[in-house]
């Protein structure tokens, strides 16, 4: 998975709410998906060109005290986004 390149689905809206969280809103269905600050960072870093490995490196550079299991957690997060049809993994 580390070599895959996540691409956000076009037309989704990232709306920042209170407490640094955000909602990923699908205006065609009205469904929403909550993102924490790490999720927001990943979402805004995905462009279809950067690999999952690149995102992890960027994440480690951006946040302090990144836990050792972050790679598993990020991959789980990306799988969930894929299952919800919010991203493609190219």
């Amino acid at each position: 998975m580390l070599e895959l390149r996540p691409l956000p689905r076009a037309g989704l809206v990232l709306r920042r709410e209170h407490d640094d969280w955000a909602v990923l809103f699908d205006p065609d269905t009205g469904s929403g998906f909550g993102l924490d600050p790490v999720g927001i960072f990943l979402w805004e870093s995905m462009d279809g060109r950067r690999r999952v490995a690149d995102l992890l490196e960027a994440l480690r550079g951006h946040f302090a005290q990144v836990p050792s299991q972050v790679a598993d957690e990020v991959q789980g997060f990306l799988r969930e986004l894929q299952e919800r049809d919010l991203i493609q993994l190219l």
């Binding site: 709306r15 205006p27 009205g30």
Partner: protein, 358 residues
């Protein structure tokens, strides 16, 4: 929130009806002119820029705007969902087909007050029931997401059970929304004829209680007797159980000022359509985010929640002051909704809380 999540837009001040209980006409939102389409379209772009997710389009009657189709097409191009509030009397097969072709239409909400012309037309004018029904059937035929709003008043409250049967069984809708005539706008002039008196409110609560059991989950309300019944029941159950509510006991009302705004037909930005006299800014000249973040009036309304209910005159010593949020402030000069006051309702009605919440 850095911007409102939802915005209600009065896209026209024109209406083909003059309902006796209308809150809009004869109030501060009853303005002399409608903004042109170009102005609204520029504002739709601003809504997208500020990630507003939900828009409500109301009036007046939206279908009185000759350029409504173009306006809706403009709006549909933006990544947000919208609800259209209408009396449906101007909707025929072609209007319904047009709506069915729109992306991102969340719902069409139609006002229907009774199962028969007598109850519906009493406040809305002769012939409006048949025309509304024709519109509802056209919308249903297109498979549009349809919701109905029933406004209770003195001339239809006794038929509430029949209305529920008609909407849920005969028309086959999943649910409907209830409120009641509220002493604002045109309604104030017809107060005696339309606003429920105490006996009628009490009777409505009894009927609503039975209807809730008969149609679980199919009656909705954000204001009016059903909303009061649910709120009061929850408050009394919390009192009996000794629960504490994190937002309870504060003058927070519906909390709308923390998530939404409204815009009048002339472009004035207001806290909500019921508070249309409190102008916060203008979409022609002001930035929505700045209004949302910096309006002193909005800040004052938000700070109402710092007031403890028990510190308000008339609320001190109230058994429910730890759970009450003060009701809707729109119709009350005192700044809180006396109509929503549980203690006043019990005292004036001569009933006990055990009668209301067994």
């Amino acid at each position: 929130m850095s911007t409102p999540r939802a915005v209600d837009l009065v896209i026209t001040n024109q209406c083909n009806l003059r309902c006796h209980y209308c809150y809009h006409f004869e109030g501060a939102g009853d303005v002399a002119r409608d903004l042109p389409r170009s102005q609204w379209s520029r504002f739709f772009e601003e809504l997208e820029r500020h990630t507003v997710l939900e828009v409500g389009l109301t009036g007046g009657e939206p279908f009185c705007r000759p350029d409504l189709p173009e306006l809706l097409e403009d709006l549909s191009r933006h990544p947000l969902r919208f609800t259209l509030y209408t009396n449906a009397t101007l909707i025929g097969p072609s209007e319904a087909a047009f709506l069915a072709g729109l992306r991102r239409l969340r719902a069409v909400q139609v006002s229907l007050d009774a199962a028969h012309a007598t109850g519906h037309d009493a406040c809305r004018g002769a012939g409006s029931f048949e025309r509304a029904l024709r519109g509802i059937r056209a919308l249903k035929k297109q498979g549009l997401p349809l919701s109905l709003q029933v406004t209770l008043h003195r001339l239809n409250a006794a038929d509430l059970e029949k209305t529920a049967e008609f909407v849920l069984e005969e028309l086959g809708l999943a649910s409907f929304q209830l409120n009641s005539a509220y002493d604002m706008g045109t309604c104030s002039r017809h107060r005696q004829q339309v606003c429920l008196d105490l006996d009628e409110r009490r009777a409505a609560l009894t009927t609503l209680e039975a209807l809730q059991r008969r149609y679980p989950g199919r009656l909705r309300a954000s204001a009016g007797p059903l909303a009061q019944l649910r709120r009061w029941t929850a408050m009394e159950q919390a009192r009996r159980g000794g629960e504490s509510w994190s937002q309870g006991g504060r003058l927070s009302s519906c909390g709308g000022v923390f998530r939404k705004l409204a815009v009048r037909a002339d472009g004035a930005i207001v806290p909500c359509n019921q508070l249309s006299g409190r102008v916060l800014g203008w979409i022609q000249t002001d930035d929505l985010r700045q209004v949302w973040q910096q309006s002193p009036e909005l800040e004052r309304l938000r700070r109402r929640q710092e007031t403890r209910m028990q510190d308000l005159p008339g609320c001190s010593g109230c058994p429910w002051s730890d759970w009450c949020s003060g009701g809707c402030p729109a119709g009350s000069a005192e700044g809180f909704g006396t109509e929503d006051c549980l203690r006043a309702f019990l005292e004036q009605g001569g009933i006990s809380i055990e009668d209301l919440v067994p």
